[in-house]
């Protein structure tokens, strides 16, 4: 348990979170909190998240779903008088919480991000059909059928317009050098982990 209002957690964030070294520079003006279009839906605004980090509230921050709510609109970055890369810090925090396994289970943004990632790394291309279906069924089979029925009209329309090919279900497009893609991704992860001091993982 981290003592509150000690610098330990701030230092942890600085070491492990993308652009985390900026957190100490926030002057608590609240401009980001007032600028965020998602503001009313967040439990903690960026301003508060930064204060909580400085107050050493490790659990509360890392298990929070607040930073997962960021839509990357960049409103806050443009407006922050202290030039904090707020959007990047939000994503960095989400990523760090995810890596530590502390991110809230079932948080939609996190789920979608995961599905998207798993989908794209397989072949080097997004299989839209599989991705949509995975999304529909992420909350179980029954809910998946309901979701699919609800979206039926749109699906048929896309098919008619040749925007969706049902045959993609069977394997679908891949890249020319799938193995090469996999190697590239593995290498990138290795570099990233090294950068974050997480060798192995």
């Amino acid at each position: 348990m981290t003592a509150t209002y000690k610098n330990d957690f701030l230092k942890e964030v600085e070491a492990n979170v993308e652009d985390g070294q900026w957190v100490k520079m926030c002057m608590q003006c609240g401009v980001c909190a007032g600028s965020c279009p998602l503001g009313p839906h967040w439990q903690h605004s960026p301003q508060k998240i930064f204060m909580m980090i400085r107050a050493g509230k490790r659990e509360e921050v890392l298990t929070s779903d607040s930073m997962w709510m960021c839509t990357s609109c960049y409103n806050c970055i443009v407006r922050c008088p202290r030039k904090l890369p707020i959007t990047h810090i939000m994503h960095g925090l989400a990523n760090y919480a995810h890596r530590l396994g502390l991110a809230p289970k079932g948080q939609p943004t996190r789920e979608i991000a995961k599905l998207f990632w798993d989908n794209i790394v397989k072949t080097g291309r997004v299989n839209e059909l599989k991705f949509s279906l995975a999304m529909y069924f992420k909350d179980g089979f029954g809910q998946g059928v309901k979701n699919a029925m609800a979206m039926q009209g749109i699906g048929l329309g896309l098919m008619k317009a040749k925007r969706l090919n049902p045959m993609e279900m069977l394997g679908g497009h891949t890249c020319k050098d799938k193995g090469g893609i996999h190697k590239m991704i593995a290498k990138a992860r290795e570099i990233e982990d090294r950068r974050k001091g997480l060798s192995g993982h």
Partner: protein, 755 residues
């Protein structure tokens, strides 16, 4: 002056000749004004016009000049004749520019102009050109009281400008509070790192300066005299008294940190709770190593509590301490937090602030401290406890104002950002009360009086008390907006935190300003002239003592303590201390105080010269007494902007509303004027009165006039007092019209026809 010859010169330029019947004006000047010479000129301020006047002075024996042209505020240079008294009738800004256009207004416009001619002629007959003070003061030396940053800076500024300086320092060395600092807040770009204080260099410059004489271990046991001739008795450590004659004084006596022991609710008095001065001592002792507490334990965590016992209930503490923000302590805490971070970046350093006030480039310094890892937490501190015994750490209970929750943090050391208390000497209200009680034999008061004498900085032997008057919260009073260094004792200038709370940079700037004012004061004094804002003025108040009833009102009401008492208990004027405001003249119930060029008569005769229409003419007549510093310029500005106002008013500029004697009001009302408007500067704590207390005195006196009005059977509305700022041109025109409308409704004054 042997033969007096009055002359009137009327200008018909600037449109005056188009709007007014100048021939008729000349007739008024001759017949009613009884001017020996009356001339008009189409362009009076031209070389030719001025030469006409000069020629009459040189060759025709003209001694007194009445100029009817533009406002006395315009063309002042052209219309100055050093050996002759000059009065001005304001036909341009005061008549043709403000009376509505159109022939239907021709009659009232002309009547207004003729009245101003009558007034100008009446005034000049009561004026003499000031001869100046025959006893001109001699000393141009400047005494600086206080050898801290402010005092040393003032001394150097004056000495480098070529003036001899006497510096008095009560301790054994120069440097003052700054000597106790490890470093100062940065003065220059990039404003990122604390800087050396520079106090040693400054001190050695001062001690080595050929024009500066330093008295260490010395205090002032008495200061007597006036600008240009102060005599300071300097009590030295040995018990000897040295005497110095100086022309002006800079009081740079600094501040004392608010007593931390009074802040018990924030842990004040406990072992590991220090104020900013205490922290400087620890930091100095650490000698750029790790900072240790008094018990020797290395500080690993420190909390700074901002606004400790400051800003009333808006700060931290129980709200029973200082009401104000000391302005420097936010930046000072930032600086001190970096002491810790520079020595060891792992020290947890939290600054708990309510509002971080770092004006100017302080914002860069703040950012630099954040980069070093100082944590800033917006918090209201509820209490500080612990820190009693050596090993125990302090506990700070606070409410995090961003996260909106109560919290506690442990720290090895807590630093309280306490405020500055001015070292401005004795509070004169307390002094007066104590002296009065002591005189009636109260033993405790006698005791207190001698204590106060010890607290006193200047020990002035003035009748009004031993120090400069204080503003609220105990700082030396000074005109914040216009003349910041000017105290209410002429020739004595306050600089640095004795005047208002401030940081070192501001104090040094302040000191330079005060030194410049001191130089101005000695120069004016040696020329026998007044100080700001009538610096050119050679007149000074004269009292016909045979008429004086010794009521002492002048000595009490003079805002500048210029009037002492002689052995026979008559007022004793110190011309050099006088600022020529005329407040004494307004105060005197028997009207024995006057200036050669400004008196109860110069104004009174103008009031009487006005043609007051009778009750059947339906032309109300309103007297305006307008302060020459703000209200009269505002009236002129109304004219310059061609704003119109009623032609029923007659305006007379006064030096200060405080100089308005109630006799003028009663005279005007007796004569049948329908109303009187008095216009002066803002009074009160945020006063703008150029003479500080003048407009307040006027209000006070007018508040007593209601009874007089009742006796005369007059409505209280017939006398009005207004605060007018120099920017109020539009407002002043509106006010006049509204008042004239109100008076029309009220009907003519019942006094008409009795005068």
């Amino acid at each position: 002056m042997a033969d007096i010859k009055y002359a009137a010169y009327i200008c018909s330029g600037c449109g005056i000749g188009d709007k007014l019947d100048v021939d008729a004006l000349e007739k008024v000047a001759t017949k009613e004004g009884k001017m020996a010479v009356v001339k008009s000129h189409p362009f009076l301020c031209s070389t030719e016009g001025v030469d006409l006047i000069k020629n009459d002075i040189a060759n025709d024996g003209v001694t007194h000049v009445m100029i009817a042209a533009c406002s006395r505020r315009a063309k002042a240079e052209a219309f100055t004749f050093p050996d002759n008294a000059v009065s001005r009738a304001n036909l341009r800004e005061g008549v043709i520019w403000v009376v509505a256009e159109g022939s239907e207004h021709d009659e009232v416009r002309q009547e207004m102009a003729e009245d101003y001619i009558r007034m100008g002629c009446a005034e000049i007959k009561k004026m003499t050109q000031p001869a100046g003070n025959p006893n001109k003061a001699q000393s141009k030396r400047i005494m600086v009281v206080g050898g801290g940053m402010s005092g040393m800076t003032a001394a150097l500024a004056a000495a480098d400008a070529g003036y001899e300086v006497v510096l008095i320092e009560k301790t054994a060395k120069l440097g003052g509070f700054a000597s106790n600092l490890l470093k100062r807040v940065p003065f220059n770009a990039p404003y990122a790192e604390a800087q050396p204080t520079g106090v040693e260099e400054l001190a050695s410059k001062v001690s080595g300066h050929a024009k500066i004489k330093v008295h260490l271990n010395s205090t002032l046991s008495e200061t007597a005299g006036a600008p240009g001739r102060f005599i300071a008795k300097i009590a030295q450590e040995s018990g000897a008294i040295a005497e110095e004659t100086v022309g002006a004084i800079v009081q740079a006596t600094g501040f004392t940190p608010y007593d931390i022991n009074k802040l018990t609710e924030l842990g004040g008095g406990q072992a590991n709770v220090v104020d900013q001065a205490g922290l400087e001592a620890l930091a100095k002792a650490a000698n750029s190593g790790a900072i240790k507490r008094a018990d020797g334990k290395e500080v690993k965590s420190v909390v700074f509590v901002q606004c400790a016992g400051q800003r009333g209930s808006g700060g931290n503490g129980n709200g029973q301490h200082l009401e104000y923000c000391s302005g420097h302590c936010c930046a000072t805490s930032i600086k001190q937090a970096t002491y810790f971070k520079d020595a060891n970046p792992d020290v947890d350093t939290i600054v708990m602030y309510l509002d971080l006030r770092v004006p100017g480039m302080g914002e860069d310094f703040y950012r630099s401290a954040q980069e070093k890892g100082v944590i800033f937490t917006k918090a209201k501190v509820n209490g500080v406890s612990g820190g009693l015994s050596g090993e125990m750490s302090c506990k700070v209970n606070f409410k995090d104002l961003i996260l909106d929750e109560e919290a506690t943090v442990d720290a090895d050391l807590v630093v309280l950002a306490t405020g500055q208390v001015a070292n401005a000497g004795v509070n004169l209200d307390e002094w007066t009360a104590t002296v009065t009680a002591a005189e009636s034999g109260d033993a405790a008061a006698v005791q207190r009086k001698s204590e106060l004498q010890k607290i006193s900085v200047l020990n002035l032997n003035y009748r009004q008390g031993p120090d400069v008057p204080q503003f609220k919260y105990g700082f030396a009073d000074s005109h914040f907006i216009c003349f910041p260094y000017e105290t209410r004792r002429t020739g004595i200038y306050a600089a640095g935190p004795a005047r208002r709370p401030m940081d070192m940079f501001q104090a040094m700037e302040d000191a330079t300003g005060a030194a410049m004012k001191a130089i101005q004061a000695v120069e004016n004094a040696t020329h026998g002239r007044a100080a700001h804002p009538r610096a050119w003025d050679l007149s000074f108040p004269k009292a016909r003592l045979e008429g004086c009833t010794q009521c002492k009102r002048c000595t009490v009401e003079c805002p500048f303590g210029a009037i002492d008492e002689d052995e026979r208990r008559f007022p004793l004027f110190n011309e050099e201390r006088c600022r020529r405001c005329g407040t004494c003249m307004g105060a005197c119930p028997v009207r024995v105080i006057s200036f050669e060029n400004y008196s109860c008569d110069t104004v009174g005769m103008q009031i009487k010269a006005v043609n007051v229409p009778d009750e059947f003419e339906e032309k109300p007549r309103v007297l305006i007494l307008a302060c020459e510093n703000d209200a009269y310029p505002a009236l002129d500005m109304a004219g310059i902007q061609r704003l119109t106002y009623s032609a029923f008013v007659r305006a007379i500029p006064v030096r200060c509303l405080g100089s308005a004697n109630t006799i003028w009001i009663t005279d005007a009302l007796n004569q049948g004027y329908d109303g009187v408007m008095m216009m002066g500067c803002k009074k009160g704590d945020d006063y703008q009165c150029h003479f500080v207390k003048g407009s307040e005195m006027a209000y006070y006196r007018m508040s007593k006039i209601d009874d007089t009005l009742k006796q005369l059977g007059l409505e209280p509305e017939r006398v009005q007092t207004h605060e007018v700022a120099i920017t109020d041109n539009a407002r002043v025109a509106r006010m006049i019209d509204e008042y004239v409308a109100q008076l029309t409704e009220l009907g003519p004054s019942p006094m008409k026809g009795f005068g």
